[in-house]
């Protein structure tokens, strides 16, 4: 029976091949555009301490967003941001804001990795580990004070 089911698998592949044109037509937005889409979401995040956006403070730049294709409809987004001050808690907070905003605003299926750019912080590894631990992020967002700060930072500017 294995062969019969294998026949069916190859038949399915044939169907995919034949309709390949249809399928690819839907997702051909180039990676650079996708990277810009991602950047558009994070550039307007406000710094927790200063009245400027992350873009204005050069915490994030267009180049800091990298996209890799994981599968046909899913992408891996890698962001490397540079906090302005080597202050531990602020860097984690910024990472948290970026995570939250992207989770809410990106229209396509993605996996996210956020890192501090190498050499910009003394406890980089510790912070990177924390920002990428989804359980820690989820718990942090249930803390009302922290949540309030994050919400203010990611709120869309009213214009």
């Amino acid at each position: 029976m294995e062969i019969v089911s294998s026949l069916l698998s190859s038949a399915i592949e044939k169907i995919f091949q034949l309709s390949g044109l249809n399928r690819n037509g839907m997702n051909t937005k180039p990676m650079e555009e996708k990277a810009l889409d991602v950047y558009d979401v994070i550039r307007s995040i406000r710094d927790p301490e200063k009245p400027n956006t992350l873009e204005e403070l050069e915490v994030v730049t267009e180049k800091c967003v990298e996209i890799q294709e994981l599968s046909e409809d899913e992408f891996l987004i890698i962001i490397k941001f540079s906090p302005t001050v080597p202050h531990c808690s602020l860097a984690t907070l910024i990472g948290l804001c970026i995570q939250v905003k992207l989770q809410r605003c990106l229209p396509f299926k993605h996996k996210l990795e956020i890192y501090i750019s190498e050499g910009t912080h003394s406890t980089e590894e510790d912070i990177n580990k924390q920002i990428n631990d989804k359980e820690r992020i989820a718990a942090a967002m249930e803390n009302p004070n922290l949540r309030e700060i994050v919400e203010q930072c990611v709120a869309e500017p009213d214009d």
Binding site: E2, I3, V4, S5, A11, K14, I15, K111, E142
Partner: protein
């Protein structure tokens, strides 16, 4: 021989939030799930479908991270980010909150019952592991606080046969605890993982332990008599499964019935590994026998084997769903993932049924599974009727192309 994981049912258990954990009751009849919506749901089978029997809503103020059934099945413990552990008692089909265990400084990440039913372990981001004792009057008392880890403790699990506890932590280590002269202490620290250890579990005999980590590997540990001559046991890593998981492995579960190992991964997949019977016990070899690469549309957080029904596995995900893929050494499998358009799936299932029937009608037994790889079958055909089958299938497809296109085009 490759087996397959086929989907039994997908349940939207915790809509609009994450489902963090699922756990089967000891008799295999109920499944408890918990999640970011602060609720616990109990699922039971009605006919062919799994339905929600109870919702435990007001036990916690924050995410419920894990739930655990007592060995007798009458109690349920839930661990929450609100720093408490709630004990629920089963009364017919409902559960009533019996008591709330407080003490941890922040999020409780796990709770586990010892096989004796008298002890309970909890662990938390406050880096500690607490052991609680329960007496006949259903009173819970903390008997020890263990501080062997330097960071957030993610998971605790009891040994199935002895009073031995293991914990997994964000500090990349696993600690083993034992009671020595009325005092609990950390007997061993197992290093090896290069990032957070998310979960661990023991095999049915308790001789081996599997752990999974953010470093994308699963490690198998085996216990050996220690060299120090004091009768203590030490654990060594005897096998590392790497290269299979694309992202963090969040959970690992060892089936007590079949010895199969299941994993839940951040790449949305659920995988099943089996041990090669021929390998030496000191150097076991595990091979991947089945995987559901799109088991969920988001990270898979947990896998749990049904303790009574071999091959029944439940998994849950960040998208709030529970799915029950079924892994069986059985007859025809479609090898079609379940996210193809439903109409196409039905079409193929019909085709499968009719080809199966024509095998029977021709009085032929299906050829035993030949090892075959690749999609170019023509070289592998062993007899004429197989070729005939394939050609008629092709013809059938060509004739029905427009129909298929219409289905697929959606």
């Amino acid at each position: 021989m490759k087996e397959a994981l086929s989907l039994v049912q997908r349940i939207s258990a915790h809509p609009d939030s994450r489902c963090w954990f699922v756990s089967w009751s000891p008799n295999g009849a109920l499944l408890a799930s918990c999640g970011g919506d602060k609720a616990i749901r109990i699922w039971g089978r009605e006919g062919d479908a799994w339905v929600c029997k109870t919702v435990l809503q007001d036990g916690h103020q924050r995410t419920v991270r894990k739930v655990a059934w007592s060995p007798c099945g009458n109690y349920l413990a839930s661990a929450s980010f609100d720093a408490t552990t709630c004990i629920w008692k089963k009364k017919n089909d409902d559960f009533e909150s019996l008591t709330v265990l407080e003490g941890h400084e922040n999020e409780v990440k796990c709770v586990a019952w010892a096989p004796s039913g008298n002890l309970l372990a909890t662990c938390s981001r406050d880096k500690s592991v607490w052991v609680w004792e329960v007496d006949e009057d259903e009173e819970y008392e903390c008997v020890t606080v263990l501080n062997a880890h330097t960071q957030d403790v993610k998971h605790v699990a009891w040994h199935p046969k002895k009073e031995l506890l293991a914990s997994a932590s964000y500090d990349n280590n696993i600690c083993i605890y034992k009671e020595e002269d009325d005092d609990w202490e950390c007997q061993a620290t197992l290093q090896g993982h290069t990032s957070t250890v998310w979960s661990l579990c023991f095999d049915a005999a308790g001789e081996r332990m599997a752990s999974c980590s953010d470093d994308r590997t699963v490690k198998i540990w085996k216990e050996y008599p220690s060299e120090d001559g004091q009768g203590n046991l030490s654990w060594k890593c005897v096998c590392t499964l790497s290269g299979y998981h694309g992202r963090t492995v969040y959970d690992v579960a060892w089936c007590q019935l079949t010895g199969a190992l299941a994993t839940a991964c951040g790449d949305d997949a659920v995988r099943v590994f089996k041990e090669d019977a021929t390998a030496s016990p000191d150097e076991p070899v595990f091979s991947l026998v089945a995987q559901a690469t799109r088991a969920h549309s988001q990270d898979a957080n947990c896998v749990s084997w049904n303790p009574k029904e071999a091959g029944l596995l439940a998994s849950c995900s960040d998208n709030g769903e529970i799915s029950q893929p079924l892994d069986r050494d059985e007859a025809v499998r479609l090898g079609v993932s379940d996210d193809h358009p439903p109409a196409l799936l039905t079409f193929l299932q019909q085709l499968q049924i009719s080809t199966h029937q024509s095998c029977l009608e021709n009085g032929r037994n299906a050829p035993e599974d030949e090892a075959y790889s690749g999609t170019d079958l023509r070289e592998e055909w062993c007899d004429d009727w197989t070729r005939h089958l394939f050609l008629s299938l092709e013809l059938h497809l060509d004739q029905n192309w427009t129909a298929a296109e219409k289905i697929y085009g959606n």
